[in-house]
């Protein structure tokens, strides 16, 4: 009888400790680890250069306002599309690399969806190989320009 009671007590304590640890772990995860994402979007070719810049800065401001840190951005300029989207055969491509929490993404994509200037967008979660690849490519580009 006594033994079983004791073991039950221990079990209880163990459960409490594990729950506490788990909670802590999630806290740490949410505070420290924000994920890296990459977004590419296509703007309509109807816009002038200034309007494109404005649209891009809008997106950047939105990212910054919501606590995301922009790691990299690059514009590919006016490119031909492989197939027409909304009867347009060209578009301005823009890439953003940023770190943010996972629940921000749905909000961000909604914002992009509401923007009428966007033809298409794609957000991708970056794994370590992807990050390494992107950084290597950036370094290569920097060397080439120097």
């Amino acid at each position: 009888m006594v033994l079983t009671k004791k073991s039950m007590e221990y079990g209880f304590v163990n459960v409490r400790v594990s729950v506490f640890l788990q909670a802590n772990f999630y806290l740490i995860k949410t505070i420290v680890m924000s994920t890296r994402y990459e977004t590419v979007f296509i703007l309509t070719p109807v816009l002038s250069d200034d309007q494109v810049k404005e649209a891009v800065t809008n997106v950047k401001d939105f990212l910054k306002k919501n606590g995301a840190t922009v790691k990299h951005q690059s514009s590919w300029g006016l490119k031909k599309l492989a197939y027409p989207i909304q009867n347009k055969s060209t578009g301005f491509y823009q890439l953003f690399e940023f770190e943010a929490d996972g629940d921000f993404i749905s909000k961000f994509e909604l914002e992009l969806k509401r923007d009428e200037r966007m033809l298409r967008f794609l957000t991708v979660k970056m794994n370590k190989n992807h990050i390494e690849f992107a950084e290597k490519q950036r370094n290569k580009a920097a060397e080439a320009s120097n």
């Binding site: 599309l81 492989a82 197939y83 989207i85 298409r120 794609l122 690849f133």
Partner: protein
């Protein structure tokens, strides 16, 4: 008997099958970029369909990655969903 009577002027060349290999494993590529149009063209036929593993020799692990990146590229209009004379 009949076989021995046939003579060839030149020795017939029997085709030796080339050993296929996974180009990602060989070159040490870990990430398949969906933005690289020219690279993805290697894994797609003239109509823009994804080529099977038995043709390209890619390993299962990387075939999966190639497929996702081709699909991403299609979404962003980097590659067409249906094409003609792509190469």
């Amino acid at each position: 008997m009949a076989e021995s009577e046939i003579r060839y002027l030149q020795p017939i060349n029997i085709e030796v099958k080339k050993e296929k290999y996974c180009r990602f494993k060989k070159a040490g590529i870990k990430y398949v970029d969906y933005k690289d149009y020219k690279f993805l063209l290697k894994f797609v036929n003239e109509q823009g369909k994804i080529l099977p593993r038995r043709v390209t020799g890619t390993s299962t692990k990387f075939q999966k990655k190639v497929a996702t990146s081709v699909k991403r590229a299609r979404h962003l209009a980097i590659l067409p969903y249906v094409g003609d004379m792509l190469k």
